[in-house]
Symmetry: C2
Subunit: 659 residues, 2 copies
């Protein structure tokens, strides 16, 4: 759905389960009192008989692995998991601020991907102070759920420590003692008993202790037969464990990974599985297909048993097998309905957020990052909260990391060598047209747009290409919409039975000569068109009334107040321009050597071009912004630098008026 | 324009000058810091060369005189005065809470009529404590401007009092000393010198002292020749008085009133005027016509002199002459443009108010009264401020006073004797049809609607009459509107270039039998129609989501956020129902003797009927609310009490669905 340059009602829904709840309150309440807890969502879904799924990931080893995993969160989030969980890697500095730490990955999932997330935490060999520190940090970052584990002892001679963390139960108790009921707590269950337990019954007792200490639900270790799990559930119920028990599903994805896992978990692979796998162990595809078929069959039995409200998947950070199992089970639902036109963050503090400036439409993670210190979120009225400053760019690691393409790939797309501003115009045009550039490479992204243009939604392609070719370098736009149903598959959002609206929007870089002509032309379009024009030094001109925001996306719904989730706000535009101009240098100019002509061309644009935004307020009429640009070109054409452009403009406007 | 029962986008603009400023901020600021002062408005109008006028009134003697004067404020406010002023009657307990006091009349003009107002205050024979008390009270009531006068001494042997209030200058100094710059201060000027002054020049010096002490502008005593005023202005300027000087215009309205005024003010009527008037002194109409002609001629000379930015009229609480003079001068401008669909209150605290529940649409003064203690006004979002309680009804004098008709006239309209509920239905129907009732009397108002139905805007008349005849007693309604220009003469409001929208609304009393059928019918209309149904005991049923408000009037404007000035709010509906039910008893039942059949019929309706509101959320489609009512009647017709209505309804709905 998503179209990075031509934003049609904003980003696709990567908000996961939380975004699916179409019963969005139009008078939102702060969730710091934890009103919308994972355990409540689980209970509601269970009561409604609506099966769900959840996904487990582990932290990546490298920064680029982190970037890839975040993209995977967005993709897998679109299928609607109830939650995801991130494992705790004691050896990987799991509580640190490194982009690859368990803490940071879980925080990114919550804050930037809008996913309800569970952070694993192991307590073995840790001090209480250290654990409390981790939990405080998690809370501060917006994490609300903990999977409490003992973890594997370091070294072999582990001994119980008086008053220390010897079992997961101790950790559950500690969390409840230090943080009361703030966190939802999950604990691990072992369908065949913990490998170190004295007996299966003994292990069940330990599980009961963990639940009694305050755990809200159980996720089991993987298993290979539905019966194994169902017996385990019966045994749990028999000793009085009443909380939800989620089966851990492991779709077999390869021979080596299966062997390794079995070794680690000390599980035995049943003979009937080994019999199938052994003969095809060199054929990865065949094993994966078998794994999918096996998982689907087992999941069907589990769901049909009536004992299983939801399925938990060990993804091993891979997408294909799990998605295929979920699709076959009918649980993977890419619901095009969105509560708001942009993906909602899952941080409890941001629950009230229901309006954002349009400028970050293609860089929502940057917006979330730069507003993470806000205490209040604009709520219905933008004006009240325009004062809090946007965070600085320089410490934003996603800003630098975010390009998934290598320097080499970027050079191929954006030009190994630039010869003039025109070569830049051609890069933009190739991107818009989704056609190869002169060197024969497709331009899949631009610094301001991380995704390739989605052709099926690119309604404005021809107009965009035409103006980009002439140096109107578009980086964001949306068409006008006059009351389409909220259920519309492309532009719809919000609860059913409503209507959505948009004012046409266009944002671009262009030369100062063009801007001089544009300003003359815009006089003809008062008060229909609002504009804001700024250069890198911050010199700016606008006809925004009192620097007030202009609502450009809004919705009318049955029994609700008006929702206006996107505004063109002159104050935040001045913050955005820093980011938009910086991207020229950080992402493009720095591909070339210092002092090289290519770098100088990008630097020239950065130093001399203006960033322009235009809003056509007359949403029921045809978008006039293309006419504005046409008029600007016409004015420039009739005046090939023979007279000052202002004089030419006067003449031009008089002629236009006379017609 | 105004249509009391069929509210088409709400009340007409009685907001006076303040309502005319279409540059309404969509992020309003509290005006307690006095940002939008009368002196600033005056300066802006003067700078723009845009002439204005203002109107002087005196407090009435009786409570019914107060009700009439308030209606006159509304009517004369619609012509757009920059301000009105209310004289101070020391003998009439002017600072008290009586409905006829100067203080209360001025407060009503500000708070309920939305008029920028100046309260006169005389200081002669008053203690400083007393004066400070008056000023504090005025400030608390939202008054922002004072006309500082000495006043006439009580008794004949007046002597200067050391340190007391001897001159208006002392009062000006006292106001500035005690209240800093809070109030805008006006003082009186005497074009022919104060009658008690030693000389004209001496009097000019006193005026200069008043201005130097802190007065912001001057209003002059009446005069009969333009030259008199223009010379006075020149003399003022010559001694360094630079503030605005407004000429006090007195249109001669009758022989006796002229003689009396001349005697009081010790002015001489010029011979050329006496020559015209004496021969026609018995002919009031002829004198008034002459007075209008004379005032228009003098005003034209004043305005053409370039010395006069605005005209101040001594109305003597009469409308015709002043309005005619203003019309002939082209200053009376009934601008249909309104900043919001309801009249904005001029209380500084209410500047931020931009959303109200629809229920009080025909009783805006009651709404203002009942919310006068609110600290916060709903601003963009209703939800934030739904908690403050609405004030009690019982101490609201306007509530009881408000009917301008005598008991006798009301009995003629609403029935000397009621024989059944049907007779009540006929009263409603006669009101809707603007036709005489069976006794031959026109029904000009109902307890919920103070004004007669304006036929030219009564687009829903036939539908309304049809349902009222059958006992669906409508008290409020609005049609749906799908994007009409904000400049539309009937439904438009807000700044130019915008679009306004409405959801269809219908509110009525009806019997519990009808409600039973209605609830069955409404199942067919989920989620298109929102309803809220309540009886006098407060038993209520609604399909409002989480008791959230439903926006039913909103506007989209160039360069602005969305404005949603009218909501159907389930919480405030429960306050409104107390008032709506009480009006049956207070205004109607009490017309009849205790225990009389007529009173018992109204009491029966009060005790047994339900108050219903319906919203059709599908504003782009044809209003379905009439169909809902038709379906209800159809269901009742097919089921003449032979089976429980619920059963009949089941059948009915099944049949409907089958079609």
């Amino acid at each position: 759905q998503r179209n990075a340059n031509v934003t049609i009602a904003g980003a696709s829904n990567s908000g996961g389960e939380s975004s699916k709840e179409s019963s969005r309150s139009s008078t939102p309440v702060l969730d710091t009192d934890r009103t919308d807890r994972l355990r409540d969502k689980m209970r509601r879904r269970t009561e409604s008989g609506d099966h769900w799924f959840s996904l487990e990931f582990f932290p990546p080893r490298t920064a680029s692995g982190a970037v890839n995993l975040i993209s995977r969160f967005d993709r897998m989030g679109s299928g609607g998991p109830l939650f995801i969980d991130v494992t705790w890697h004691p050896a990987g500095d799991p509580g640190s601020d490194k982009e690859t730490s368990s803490m940071m990955i879980a925080s990114t999932a919550v804050n930037y991907c809008g996913l309800e997330s569970v952070l694993h935490l192991t307590c073995c060999n840790q001090t209480k102070e250290k654990i409390t520190g981790y939990l405080s940090k998690a809370k501060r970052l917006g994490l609300k759920n903990i999977m409490a584990l003992r973890g594997d002892p370091i070294g072999t001679d582990w001994e119980e420590e008086e008053g220390g963390f010897n079992y997961a139960t101790d950790l559950v108790k500690h969390i409840r003692c230090e943080f009361d009921d703030y966190f939802d707590i999950c604990v691990a269950g072992y369908p065949t008993g913990h490998p170190e337990a004295q007996s299966y019954d003994e292990d069940l007792k330990h599980l009961k202790e963990k639940v009694d200490a305050g755990a809200d639900f159980i996720i089991t270790q993987l298993f290979f037969r539905a019966d194994t799990f169902l017996k385990f559930v019966r045994d749990c119920r028999a000793i009085g464990i009443t909380c939800p028990i989620l089966p851990g599903i492991f779709p077999i994805q390869g021979y080596q990974s299966l062997r390794q896992l079995v070794k680690l978990s000390k599980l035995e692979v049943p003979e009937e599985i080994m019999r199938v796998i052994e003969p095809i162990k060199e054929n990865d595809a065949a094993i994966r297909n078998y794994g999918i078929e096996h998982a689907v069959g087992m999941c069907r039995m589990l769901l049909e048993s009536g004992e299983v409200p939801g399925l938990h998947f060990y993804t091993l950070n891979r997408e294909v097998a799990t998605m295929e199992v979920l699709r076959q089970l009918g649980l993977w639902i890419e619901d095009p309905r969105r509560p708001l036109p942009w993906a909602v963050s899952a941080h409890p503090k941001r629950k009230v957020e229901d309006v954002r400036p349009i400028f970050w439409a293609s860089r929502p993670k940057s917006y979330i990052y730069r507003t993470q210190d806000w205490d209040d979120f604009p709520n219905g009225r933008w004006g009240n909260s325009s004062s809090p400053a946007f965070g600085e760019l320089n410490d934003y690691y996603l800003f630098y990391l975010k390009s998934k393409s290598s320097k080499d790939a970027l050079l191929k797309m954006w030009g190994e060598e630039l010869t003039s501003e025109k070569s830049v115009y051609e890069v933009f045009t190739s991107y818009i047209m989704a056609e190869p550039n002169q060197a024969g490479h497709k331009v899949m992204c631009l610094p301001w747009n991380d995704e390739p243009l989605a052709p099926e939604t690119n309604l404005l392609k021809d107009e965009l290409a035409k103006v980009n070719r002439r140096g109107v370098l578009t980086i964001n736009s949306q068409p006008s919409i006059n009351g389409k149903p909220s259920s519309d598959s492309i532009v719809g959002w919000g609860p059913p039975g409503g209507y959505v609206f948009q004012k046409a929007y266009l944002e671009f870089f262009t030369s100062s000569e063009n801007v001089t002509a544009l300003l003359q032309v815009l006089k003809k379009y008062e008060p229909r068109v609002n504009y804001h024009i700024v250069n890198v030094q911050g010199q700016n001109t606008t006809n925004a009334h009192d620097m007030q925001p202009n609502a450009v996306t809004w919705g009318i719904f049955p029994g609700r107040e008006i929702v206006q989730p996107t505004v063109v706000d002159p104050v935040s535009f001045m913050y955005w321009k820093d980011e938009a101009f910086a991207l020229w240098i950080e992402q493009w100019a720095k591909l070339y050597e210092d002092e090289s002509p290519s770098r100088m061309i990008i630097k020239y644009i950065h130093d001399n071009y203006f960033l322009v935004n235009l809003v056509d307020n007359d949403f029921p009429l045809d978008n006039c912004l293309w006419q504005v640009i046409d008029d600007m070109f016409e004015l420039l054409d009739v005046n090939p630098l023979e007279q000052p452009v202002e004089q030419a403009a006067e003449q031009f406007i008089q002629e236009q008026s006379a017609n």
